[in-house]
């Protein structure tokens, strides 16, 4: 993973210990704990809409963590995409289908232990990758911002342009897939309606 850290050359390497944390580090840990708490409430609360709103808190906490890591651009994109669009879409879906005020005892899934396993595995993988990639590198907070829009754009479109393009193709495929799925349903329904109207339906 040295490619990832190479463009971030001015990372201060040594001279930090865990026993003398700076204010930013303390804030980072506190916000992290709050985010983790909000995420836990999101998956354990019995109230559907509350879960979506706690998700807002968790995603917002992650945006604050990005800010503390000086990745300003990523932080605002996180707010724009996740808080502004994904959560609104989620709430829209909830309100359209089922959004009772109060508890929904039937909202528990039988798959929750499997889900816990998958989530734990994914979390462990991510933690391992990040720890292995960065180990003891520290961000130099006094120098020029290392997560500014310019730096992020240069890294994204010079070092990581292939994954970026692959992801965009994946998203395009998902988009087309969604269109195809929704169109096929309506066509089948229309055929059924036509068959019912002409009285030639098989049943």
């Amino acid at each position: 993973m040295s490619i990832a850290t190479a463009p971030l050359a001015p990372l201060a390497a040594a001279g930090h210990g865990f026993l003398s944390p700076t204010g930013v580090e303390i804030a980072f840990v506190l916000v992290g704990l709050a985010t983790l708490g909000a995420a836990l409430v999101t998956v354990t609360t019995k109230q559907l809409v509350h879960a979506a709103l706690w998700l807002v808190v968790a995603l917002g906490g992650i945006a604050v963590e990005y800010l503390l890591l000086t990745a300003e651009f990523i932080a605002w994109v996180q707010v724009l995409i996740y808080l502004g669009s994904v959560v609104v879409l989620l709430l829209f879906g909830l309100m359209l289908t089922k959004a009772p005020i109060g508890r929904s005892p039937d909202a528990d899934s039988g798959n929750r232990w499997v889900a816990l396993g998958v989530a734990g595995l994914a979390g462990a993988t991510l933690v391992w990758v990040v720890v292995d990639a960065f180990r003891a590198t520290w961000i130099d907070l006094d120098g020029p911002a290392q997560g500014s829009t310019k730096v992020t754009g240069e890294i994204l479109f010079q070092h990581w342009v292939l994954p970026f393009e692959a992801l965009s193709v994946l998203l395009l495929a998902a988009l087309i897939g969604a269109i195809v799925l929704s169109r096929r349903n309506t066509a089948a329904e229309e055929a059924a309606d036509a068959a019912a109207r002409t009285g030639k339906g098989q049943r």
């Binding site: 709103l53 300003e72 605002w76 994109v77 669009s85 609104v88 829209f92 309100m95 005020i101 829009t149």
Partner: protein, 322 residues
Amino acid sequence: MNDVLDVALRLIVVFAVFLVLPLVVGQTEHKVMAHMQGRLGPMYAGGFHGWAQLVADGVKFAQKEDIVPANADRRIFQIAPAVALLPYLLVLLAIPIGPGEGAVGQVIDAGLFFALAVMGIGVLGSLMGGWASANKFSLLGGLRTAAQLLAYELPMLLAAASVAMAAGTVSLPGIVGAFEWWWLPWQIIGALVFFTAGLAELQRPPFDMPVADSEIIFGAYTEYTGLRFALFLLAEYAGIVVLCALTTVLFLGGWHGPFGGDGLGWVWTLLKVAVLAFVVIWLRVSYPRLREDQLQKLAWTVLIPLALAQIALTGIVKVAIQ
């Protein structure tokens, strides 16, 4: 200690602007609508042409009892107005009204993204209020708000991206700094798309389907009374100020004007904001409300293709002049 003083001073100034400008827009709306409709409007409060009407309204709202419906989700019902209002205060911090460091609350590297991202949060307040009221009309209003936001967020972002491409930066002072007069015809489609989508995001007429009074009473705000209701109204007017200021900064050249040096830049900004706010009021008086299907159709079949065409045009011109 000087830094702390500087920050405190900036925050106080931005907060004062946040409190004053929306009220000015609101009072202007009273009078402009009255004159356009051939009536007087509020004339008594304060003596001269009813200038104190909004102050009187504020006193009235503060006196009213703050009611939470029995079946409502109390906590969410109560924090929803704050969620609706605060984002606009944060956006105002990032908007430059003149050249130099002194004329902006806080220089933010990705200011354009900051402004659009935080503006999107405000809508969560309407959704929360609409759901937590335990009222069918409120829920319908919340649903319509969400559908409208999903449809109009995309053209707004695309139009803003066009300006960012033209300027080569996403910092708001940077964009105004790079502005040339010929950007106006170059970016005019993007400007119209941005302003229209912004109106829809604020739920201003003719895009006020989420609060359509003849169908769903007052949408997500139906159950609100007193100060919380006033906060929602204030959020709407603060939203007008923010939208007009953003349009000014992105498309109309902010502090650039045909005459007057750097010292008068802030006058130009305020003048452009005022003209745009007048247009917002004007549209309210002159256009009927769009139906829900018309709203969606306008966004997906007109605004998004136009915004994409603007991006293509921006790219072509940008490559050609380099």
